[in-house]
């Protein structure tokens, strides 16, 4: 990692932190959404680097949300603490499920994750005393009493956390392990990599990020519900963002989240029913024509024109 990089990140982060001082509430709310989806997109991409696809973002997002809200309501702990614990709960759950299911990979794993959101939704609906059942649970007050600056800083922290984790993964031995596993598991094993352990670990960490994001979201909007907290939006958009921006990188999902986050604001107003179709189209087009995404395609172009 070049020496100038961390400094650059710090500068950008500071700039981002100062946004509330010159941006209006509406713009901040849009940023909130962008940052939430950014964290989700990054977490999805990180697992993708090992060669596994998860369709379970919505599931762990919702678990984190419910865990955070229920912990907060039942123990009176500080909402921020409940968000962290909610993330850990999601991560722990992923550890259990992954340990059982990651023995078989590829489509078996992918479909199990696809079912997760549905499963969690059913469980939550069937424990009404605990979770408020089909109507969900409402918080009497959003976190920070709805102060949009603090809310924005919370979400920015969550997104920054995902970026940091993603970069750590990219610049440590984990990058070598994931690339090797993705390329050929048998060769990876023969190099001394404990493939199963890495995959379970990765699944748990990325799910924890999803849980933390979900916890933040739940506290910001002040409610959790089976339909809202496990909505397929939280799986569909991050995937479209990561594919659009470029897989296997930190900046791909970041760029994708910014672009699609802004786009989604417009689309929601223009086409209230069915605007999500755009994201499906983006995924299909990306797979068929641009597997590298924006960042990847630009990156390739720069390599060709640069000096080598």
């Amino acid at each position: 990692m070049k020496k100038s990089r961390p400094l650059l990140y710090l500068i950008v982060l500071v700039l981002l932190f100062t946004l509330p001082f010159y941006m209006g509430v509406y713009a901040l709310n849009v940023m909130d959404i962008i940052l939430i989806y950014m964290a989700l997109a990054l977490s999805w991409d990180m697992l993708l680097r090992s060669g596994q696809i998860s369709f379970g973002m919505a599931g762990f997002f919702g678990v984190g949300g419910y865990a955070a809200v229920l912990l907060f309501l039942n123990t009176g702990m500080h909402p921020l603490l409940s968000i962290v614990l909610g993330g850990l709960a999601a991560g722990g759950l992923a550890w259990l499920i992954g340990s059982a299911v990651l023995q078989l990979r590829g489509m078996y794993f992918a479909i199990v994750t696809l079912a997760l959101a549905e499963i969690f939704r059913v469980i939550v609906r069937n424990l009404p005393d605990l979770t408020g059942g089909p109507e969900g649970t409402v918080l009497s007050q959003a976190i920070f009493a709805g102060n949009s600056t603090y809310t924005y800083w919370l979400v920015l922290t969550a997104a920054a956390l995902s970026v940091i984790v993603s970069e750590v993964f990219r610049h440590s031995r984990i990058h070598f392990a994931l690339t090797s596993i993705r390329n050929d598991e048998i060769v990876a094993k023969s190099s001394g990599i404990d493939v199963f352990k890495y995959l379970v670990f990765l699944f748990a960490v990325t799910s924890a990020i999803q849980g933390i994001t979900g916890g933040a979201y739940a506290h910001i909007y002040g409610f959790v519900s089976p339909e809202g907290s496990f909505s397929v939006d939280f799986t569909l958009l991050p995937i479209a963002m990561a594919l659009l921006g470029g897989m296997h990188s930190t900046w791909g999902p970041v760029v994708g989240a910014v672009v699609l986050g802004v786009v989604s604001e417009f689309l929601k107003l223009q086409i209230p029913y069915g605007h999500l179709m755009v994201y499906g189209i983006i995924i299909v087009v990306a797979i068929l024509f641009f597997p590298q995404g924006i960042v990847g395609t630009l990156g390739l172009k720069m390599k060709r024109t640069g000096s080598h």
Binding site: I53, A100, L104, I111, L114, I239, I271, G274, G280, I287
Partner: protein
């Protein structure tokens, strides 16, 4: 040509012929075990909870007739179609639309649905599916996921997310045996399951096109070498599967209320059933579907626990995965 195809099916081109035979006999054994278990359950339920037996049978057959076309695509074309449930959902809306504009009864709509969805299958294959056939599984999963989302949102756009149901008089027909009353309309699923399973088996084993398809499924390169047109086979099988599932959607529409997300759970359950039975084991899918249908209705029959029935398929597939990975000798 037939002899060559038979050779290919026996795995004559550099595979392990004995292992294929052993696998077949093992499958036959596991089918036998599963059918014995099923028979015992049936007898117990007939006396204890006849509702569960009848409704479980009907529901199980519904699952089977949805899963079979997916198994066909997975086994022969080798791609997992995450949009499978969505095609069924579109078939249901198609029948509804026909009913609204022409007054056609949805059951009659099966025929136009078969034709229309065959064409839709052709279009889907030509425009999208064939391009990911050689590519990594990841791409296929993502692509069909994106396709599923597109189809769901298309339905959302055209008909909104409000559930729709057609009031049809014949769906509430029932019969009574002694003091036990049950719905008889749902036996249509039983009929459909038997028809589709028998039809597919006959097609695959007795017709030259079907046998060629089997050969392609087991060994595409070998099949190409002996002159079987692989791309055309994939096109046919894919479109056939979509046609079947679209027609099924029409039947489904008669009895259930439909909404854009109605198909998604069926995709997951179908995959679960295929995984349980083993890819390529079509009759096994029927047995596993019956088990799932019976199990779900069994749970449903207990008042307080009814909501948990929808988790069963998940528990089953996790179990299957854990058992399978223990059986695997390759680490």
């Amino acid at each position: 040509m037939k002899a060559v195809i038979k050779n290919l099916r026996g795995g004559g081109l550099g595979e392990f012929p004995e292992s294929a035979m052993n696998l077949v006999s093992k499958l036959k054994q596991s089918n036998y075990q599963i059918s014995v278990i099923t028979a015992v359950l049936v007898v117990i339920l007939a006396f204890w909870k006849p509702h569960v037996l009848v409704e479980g049978l009907q529901r199980g057959c519904l699952y089977a007739v949805i899963a079979l076309p997916m198994a066909l695509i997975l086994g022969i074309v080798g791609i997992i179609n995450l949009a499978h449930g969505e095609y069924m959902m579109l078939g249901a809306y198609f029948a509804y639309w026909l009913n609204v504009y022409t007054g056609m009864d949805p059951l009659l709509a099966i025929l136009p649905a078969l034709a229309a969805f065959f064409l839709i299958g052709v279009a889907s294959y030509r425009a999208i599916i064939k391009y990911v056939l050689g590519t990594p599984e990841l791409n296929q999963l993502l692509l069909t996921f994106g396709l599923a989302m597109i189809l769901e949102q298309l339905a959302n756009l055209l008909w909104t997310s409000r559930p729709i149901k057609l009031p049809l008089p014949y769906v509430s027909s029932s019969a009574t045996i002694g003091s036990f009353t049950f719905g008889t309309y749902e036996f249509i699923y039983v009929g459909a399951a038997i028809l589709v399973l028998a039809g597919l088996l006959l097609f695959l084993k007795r017709t030259p096109t079907g046998q060629a398809a089997l050969a392609v499924g087991q060994n595409p390169r070998g099949a190409k070498l002996v002159g079987i047109h692989v791309d055309r086979t994939y096109l046919l099988i894919f479109s056939l599967s979509i046609a079947l599932i679209g027609a099924l959607g029409a039947i489904f529409m008669t009895r259930h209320s439909i909404f854009p997300l109605v198909g998604a759970p069926f995709t997951m359950k179908s995959f679960c059933l295929i995984a349980m039975a083993g890819i390529g084991n079509l009759p096994g899918i029927l047995w596993c579907s019956l088990i799932l249908g019976l199990a779900e209705n069994f749970v449903l029959s207990f008042r307080g626990y009814a909501g948990w029935a929808d988790i069963l398929f998940f528990a089953l597939i996790v179990l299957v995965i854990m058992v399978r990975s223990r059986q695997r000798e390759v680490k």
